[in-house]
């Protein structure tokens, strides 16, 4: 009897090992593939345009391997900031979106919908319309607005702890409220400011300044690894507060840390590029498709975000007859996905 039990246990352990190895291989392959895709797109965006360059020229110029004044001007001066902006904003949106969705246990709970982006928009538009500010000041206002919206949401949703569902509903309410106020600001604005504000509101990766990029890049170096380290705790938090606590997780502390990381990531991204919609919403689910269900890879989601934004920028600037802001392209691709998500979630009866 004991012998049989030991043998089956060993067989089960072997099956488990095989399953884990298979998952690890799949995660590694997907992440490597995504990294390669990001690198390729990053170089490609700098090759195309009215002045065409080869991949070799772009790479040598970016890495300062050789100095060719005309190439360096186009690459380092004109195209690298946009490419870097698309890369960093994409990474930040992808990581932030998937953390929100996993934390609030809802595929619809992306920061676009729960009021964070709306808070950034209201603050930025108010600044543009009321104080005629521009550049770094708009960036700072957007950052402040996003963080303030997140804090209001957290405080309003707090009742002996935070329930994901309450946070989503309050977030949607806050988003609608802020969007209303933003609309009011636009009505009150002079034509020039209104145009400026509308341009900001569409979202574009081409508008970032060097300082803004340095800020976002520096934040990513700290926040992305932090999010990846915290994701181990997210795997337990996903099982509900009671189970997580029973497994020894300090639920409120962990949730606050994860929320703060995700809010900072999205706030910085929005402050740099404006509200670029749908990237945060779709990056996580796409990463899960690649890695396997419920794997919740944050690094993979960040990379998917970068792929999406770099591609959207390529399409927006080079493939369309007239160049469009990036946000228009992500919106056009993202809206059908949202409809599909709503339709399928409800069919499964898991729409909540």
């Amino acid at each position: 009897m004991t012998a049989t039990a030991t043998r089956t246990s060993a067989a089960t352990a072997a099956t488990l090992r095989a399953t884990r190895r298979h998952r690890a291989v799949r995660a590694f392959t997907a992440t490597t593939g995504l990294t390669a895709a990001v690198a390729a797109l990053f170089v490609l965006t700098m090759m195309v345009g009215s002045f065409r360059l080869t991949a070799g020229e772009v790479i040598t110029s970016v890495l300062h391997l050789a100095d060719t004044p005309s190439v360096d001007f186009v690459v380092r001066g004109l195209r690298l900031p946009t490419a870097l902006s698309a890369l960093t904003v994409g990474l930040a949106l992808g990581a932030s979106g998937t953390v929100f969705q996993q934390l609030l246990r809802n595929p619809l709970a992306s920061p676009d919908f729960v009021g964070i982006t709306a808070g950034a928009s209201l603050a930025a538009v108010s600044g543009i319309v009321l104080a005629q500010v521009g550049g770094l000041a708009v960036c700072a206002l957007a950052l402040g607005g996003a963080v303030a919206a997140a804090l209001i949401m957290y405080l309003l949703a707090w009742r002996d702890g935070i329930s994901g569902y309450r946070l989503i509903l309050i977030g949607i309410g806050i988003a609608v409220f802020f969007e209303g106020l933003t609309g009011y600001m636009l009505i009150k604005a002079e034509l020039f400011e209104a145009r400026q504000a509308m341009h900001w509101l569409t979202g574009s990766v081409g508008q970032a300044s060097d300082d803004e990029l340095k800020l976002l890049g520096g934040a990513l170096v700290v926040l992305l690894p932090l999010a990846v380290i915290l994701s181990r705790k997210l795997r337990v938090l996903e099982l509900g507060d009671d189970t997580a606590r029973a497994l020894g997780s300090r639920v409120e502390l962990t949730r606050a840390a994860l929320l703060a990381t995700a809010v900072l990531l999205v706030a910085l991204a929005v402050s740099v590029a404006g509200p670029i919609v749908f990237v945060a919403l779709v990056a996580g689910p796409i990463a899960n498709r690649l890695l396997g269900p419920a794997t919740g890879g944050i690094a993979a989601a960040a990379l998917v975000g970068a792929v999406l934004l770099l591609s959207a920028d390529l399409v927006a600037v080079h493939l369309l007859p007239t160049p469009l802001p990036t946000g228009v392209v992500t919106g056009a691709v993202g809206a059908p996905y949202l409809l599909w998500l709503l339709a399928t979630t409800n069919r499964k009866g898991a729409g909540g």
Binding site: T8, S9, T243, A246, A350
Partner: protein, 258 residues
């Protein structure tokens, strides 16, 4: 010396306490059932014992130390809990879910080792779910799903296991199967088990010890044969009944009087 007990425990969510000044001792190495009418505080007591609810007054003692002074991780290595309606992310596989039970035994950067594999394998085998490892949880039947959740709690490798209404959504066959599983875990692995149960007949048949609650207090406790009387059922549930012996095991069975 009992490993888990409560002294003068008062618990509640809002202004009005649900459990008042309650003393209880969980018997080591036994299967205990907490029974009582709806809203009598039995789930609240279980949550209090599992440190999910901070005591308003009094203490829960684990191995002689006040639980409030222990870290959540220390508690999680000794005491596991299966909540009433646990949730899992969409599409999660059985292997993934059960593996997450190892959380309290892993550090920030520690990777999986043989102990983790063995603990998960043992949990899967004990609950007869090893064949399901690669299946998504969503596709399983209610009985299978509940066994997988118990496997997750077993992978946590604790001496004490608390379960909140583990049989509620199961048909009679799966209820019995699950209670037999708890008995086996108790007999083979020596686990101390406390479960909130609704069916008193099944609780009497499969548990060593019954704690009967009404209005946030314990009204009776002891072995099923000693505790389950017509007077107690009348008092706790307001049901007039006759108690007859189970024809197979001789344990008490409730038969409504009218």
């Amino acid at each position: 010396m009992s490993r888990l007990r409560a002294e003068g425990l008062t618990l509640g969510y809002d202004a009005e306490p649900i459990v008042r000044d309650l003393d209880v001792t969980v018997l080591d190495g036994k299967v205990t059932a907490i029974v009582g009418a709806n809203a009598c505080g039995k789930s609240t007591l279980l949550r209090g014992l599992a440190r999910l609810l901070r005591p308003r007054e009094g203490n829960v003692l684990l191995d002689g130390r006040a639980m409030a002074d222990l870290s959540t991780l220390e508690v999680a290595k000794v005491l596991g809990l299966l909540p009433q309606a646990p949730v899992a992310p969409d599409g999660i596989t059985v292997a993934d879910l059960v593996s997450r039970g190892r959380y309290p035994h892993q550090g920030w950067f520690r990777t999986w080792n043989d102990r983790d594999h063995d603990a998960v394998a043992r949990a899967l085998d004990a609950t007869d779910t090893a064949d399901l490892v690669n299946r998504p949880l969503r596709q399983l039947s209610g009985g299978q799903r509940q066994r997988v959740w118990i496997a997750m709690a077993l992978a946590q490798d604790t001496d004490l296991l608390l379960l909140d209404e583990p049989t509620t959504f199961l048909d009679i066959n799966h209820q019995v199967e699950l209670l037999r599983l708890l008995r086996t875990l108790n007999a083979q692995a020596g686990k101390t088990i406390v479960a909130v149960l609704h069916d008193i007949n099944l609780a009497s048949r499969y548990c060593d010890h019954i704690v009967a609650m009404a209005d946030g207090a314990i009204v009776a406790e002891g072995a099923p044969r000693d505790v389950i009387t017509a007077e107690l059922i009348e008092k706790v549930f307001g049901l007039a009944c006759v108690i007859v012996p189970d024809p197979v095991a001789g344990t008490p069975i409730i038969v409504p009087a009218e």
